[in-house]
């Protein structure tokens, strides 16, 4: 049931014309509702690309694998750095692995 938005953390990117998750979604699935929070038009249409999760400045979005395909409850959380990304993955048995790598080269003009 991807993606899940935590309404306690989400503020709909208040002040922006468009929230970061709306901007990031290649499928136009995210929108900010009358409650000022982000929602997903059709979670069944999500591609699980995690672009919205990576863009959320408040870590309010989580991608979940639908239960029919994967068990409860593993998590995968990205943390965006300037030129790197860190992923923290916890499996259903509570085992956690962290991955960190560079995703941008420093460019000198």
């Amino acid at each position: 049931m991807p993606p899940i938005i935590d309404p306690k953390k989400c503020n709909g990117c208040e002040g922006r014309e468009e929230s970061f998750c709306e901007e990031a979604c290649p499928g136009d699935l995210m929108y900010v509702g009358a409650d000022g929070k982000s929602h997903c038009h059709a979670s069944r249409d999500c591609w699980d690309c995690m672009s919205c999760v990576k863009m959320c400045p408040r870590n309010a979005i989580e991608t979940r694998v639908p239960y029919q395909l994967g068990y409860h409850k593993a998590t995968l959380k990205p943390l965006m750095g300037k030129n790197s990304i860190t992923w923290k993955c916890t499996d259903i048995n509570g085992q956690t692995v962290t991955y960190k790598y560079r995703n941008r080269l420093d460019i000198k003009d």
Binding site: M1, P2, E17, E18, E23, A24, C25, P26, G27, D28, Y31, V32, H41, S43, R44, D45, C46, W47, D48, C49, M50, S51, M55, T63, R64, V65, P66, Y67, Q68, L69, G70, Y71, H72, K73, A74, T75, L76, P78, I85, W87, C89, T90, D91, I92, N93, V97, Y99, Y101, R102, N103, R104, L105, D106, I107
Partner: protein
């Protein structure tokens, strides 16, 4: 960009926006972004506009990122060598060697561009690019799409985000731009251009994904589900010649998630095994190259095992060294991050347990296989003024990221040459008005209209194609009678599109996407029907003609007859330009 606009009360209330430019690019993906950058390079005075259905920074097939560039020519090898490999990967062709060669000559430079723009390409301790196969190199491409998009914007392209293309703007048989609507602002857009580059991506979602049944995830597919084939559909509707639509891309993917498998089987040399632990490729496909067998053979092999009762099938990752396993997981995080989550949700460590694999649903893509527009060397389609690049351009398989980028540049050069001394024609008012009415009609039918949702028709289409036109459930097999059935029902579906209704602008986009999918599916079925042989098992399997027939060693072509509306099929000969054994790399 405003939040989603309210539904218009009437057609008259819909604002029309008119945009004029020299070159219009439909689709701001890989090929489209490279076209925009090339335009600024060759003539900064060109006004270039990108029409993008989502938001260019994270749109389309590259939105999640990439873990590899699958074609980069190493030292000591030539573009001709790449064409030979490319040809062997599609069982000796037939392919368009002229197109393949011109892309091959251009593609290293495009990949070098990406590195200059900030894409990390993995190198060894001596600074040499690290290859993970004969032609593919590893990248940390999580930022691939933003990097390309930033450069297109820096190049001065004017980007119209959230505008979905619905039709080409025509002027006396020539393409003079495109029409569409804003999926957020609800406006109608008329883009007038001297030349148009169609770079929308391929077509996913024509077939049912096997995970669509009784799950909350209908888009657990490999190709971007938001690339629905609109680029093909708008050309088909104007009578453009299409090539090789029957050569579908079917790939071995991880089961239940549809993640890439070549990453593991080729990149990490984990052999494909069946339920009995037999190494399938060595045991049954040694004569075709075993693990190096052509892509369609490798794609079809695990499904043949299931069909013969020897499934499940796996990529045997057991015993992989931990640092290698970590590298493999990093690759996935760069391209399909949720696969790492999927493994975690199964509590699975691939070093201890092999990764299960299965066949994907079929896709129509000109960047992987060779379905798409028939184009000339300048990448112009048979519709004057309409160019195609990347997944929409046919005849030239195995382009992948580098080749699609290269083709974006080539199409732009072709378009820039074409527009010399051209003036913009005045848009035909009747055509524009008719399209505006067609586009918004599903939104204006009123709450009481007893109609259909896009989702209902999409699911009907996908099930029809799956069962009758060679989907996963049928192990990709089809025959004459099934294709006739599919075509009969596709005609019925098209007639029923008059009942489609949309609740809001997002829904309106879905309505037009399903209409586009039906147009592409119809052409696909005609191509499958024409090729009365089995040339590429899995990609194109005719159970009534199970062998290769030398009579079909040619390109299968089609075009819609604009007077009768019928799809007409014909052939073009294969021309071998690069010497050597067609069947060997």
């Amino acid at each position: 960009m405003p939040r989603m606009a309210q539904n218009p009360p009437s057609l008259d209330a819909v604002e029309t926006v008119r945009v004029d430019c020299d070159i219009l690019i439909i689709g701001g993906g890989n090929a489209g972004c490279f076209s925009a950058v090339e335009a600024a390079k060759i003539d900064p005075s060109l006004k270039v506009v990108i029409m993008e259905k989502a938001q260019i920074m994270r749109s389309g097939a590259c939105s999640a990122g990439m873990d590899a560039i699958n074609t980069y020519i190493p030292e000591g090898k030539t573009p001709e060598d790449l064409v030979r490999w490319c040809r062997s990967q599609v069982g000796g062709g037939p392919i368009r060697e002229d197109l393949a060669l011109s892309n091959a000559k251009e593609l290293n430079e495009s990949v070098d561009d990406l590195e200059r723009w900030g894409l990390p390409i993995l190198r060894d301790e001596n600074g040499k690019i690290r290859y993970r196969g004969a032609w593919d190199i590893s990248i940390h491409g999580e930022q691939l799409k933003p990097i390309m998009a930033e450069k297109a914007i820096e190049a001065g392209a004017e980007v119209y985000n959230r505008v979905a293309c619905t039709q080409l703007l025509m002027d006396n048989g020539r393409c003079a731009g495109a029409l569409g609507f804003g999926v957020r602002d609800g406006k109608f857009y008329v883009f007038r251009a001297k030349a148009t580059i169609n770079a929308t991506g391929g077509a996913a979602g024509l077939y049912k994904s096997y995970t669509a049944d009784a799950t909350d995830s209908h888009h657990q597919i490999w190709m971007c589900p938001y690339c629905v084939g609109t680029g093909y559909a708008v050309g088909i509707r104007q009578g453009a010649e299409m090539t090789s639509m029957e050569q579908r891309w079917v790939a071995t993917r991880t089961k239940d998630f549809c993640g890439p498998v070549d990453t593991i089987s080729v990149g990490y040399k984990a052999p494909i095994i069946n339920a009995k632990g037999e190494r399938i490729m060595q045991k049954r496909y040694a004569h075709l190259g075993a693990d190096k067998a052509p892509r369609y053979i490798r794609a079809n092999a695990p499904m043949e095992e299931w069909l013969a009762g020897r499934g499940p099938t796996y990529c045997d990752t057991r015993g992989m060294k931990p640092e290698l396993a970590e590298q493999m997981m990093t690759d996935y995080l760069n391209e399909r991050p949720s696969f790492v989550l999927f493994l975690a949700s199964r509590g699975q460590d691939p070093v201890k347990e092999p990764i299960e694999i299965y066949g994907s649903d079929p896709y129509i893509v000109g960047g992987h296989t060779q379905s798409g527009f028939w184009v000339d060397l300048d990448r112009m389609t048979t519709v004057p003024g309409l160019f195609a690049a990347g997944e929409t351009a046919g005849g030239n398989p195995n382009k992948f990221v580098g080749g699609c980028a290269a083709e974006g540049k080539l199409a732009l050069r072709g378009a820039a040459d074409y527009i010399k001394n051209l003036v913009l024609p005045e848009p035909d008012a009747a055509q524009v008005a008719a399209e505006k009415a067609r586009v918004f009609e599903p939104l204006l039918r009123g709450e009481d209209f007893d109609g259909l949702k896009a989702l209902e028709m999409e699911e009907r289409l996908q099930r029809l194609m799956d069962e009758y036109a060679g989907g996963t459930s049928q192990f990709y097999r089809t025959n004459e009678e099934r294709l006739d059935y599919a075509l009969k029902h596709l005609t019925m579906l098209r007639e029923q599109t008059k009942y489609l209704k949309a609740a809001d602008l997002h829904d309106l986009m879905s309505v037009h996407e399903v209409i586009d999918r039906i147009d592409v599916a119809e052409v696909l079925c005609h191509h499958l029907k024409f090729r009365k042989e089995t040339r590429w098992q899995g990609w194109q399997t005719r159970s009534d003609y199970p062998e290769v027939d030398p009579a079909y060693d040619c390109h299968v072509e089609s075009r819609r007859n604009l007077e009768t509306g019928e799809i007409e099929t014909f052939t073009r000969p294969y021309e071998q330009l690069v010497p050597g054994d067609r069947y060997k790399p």
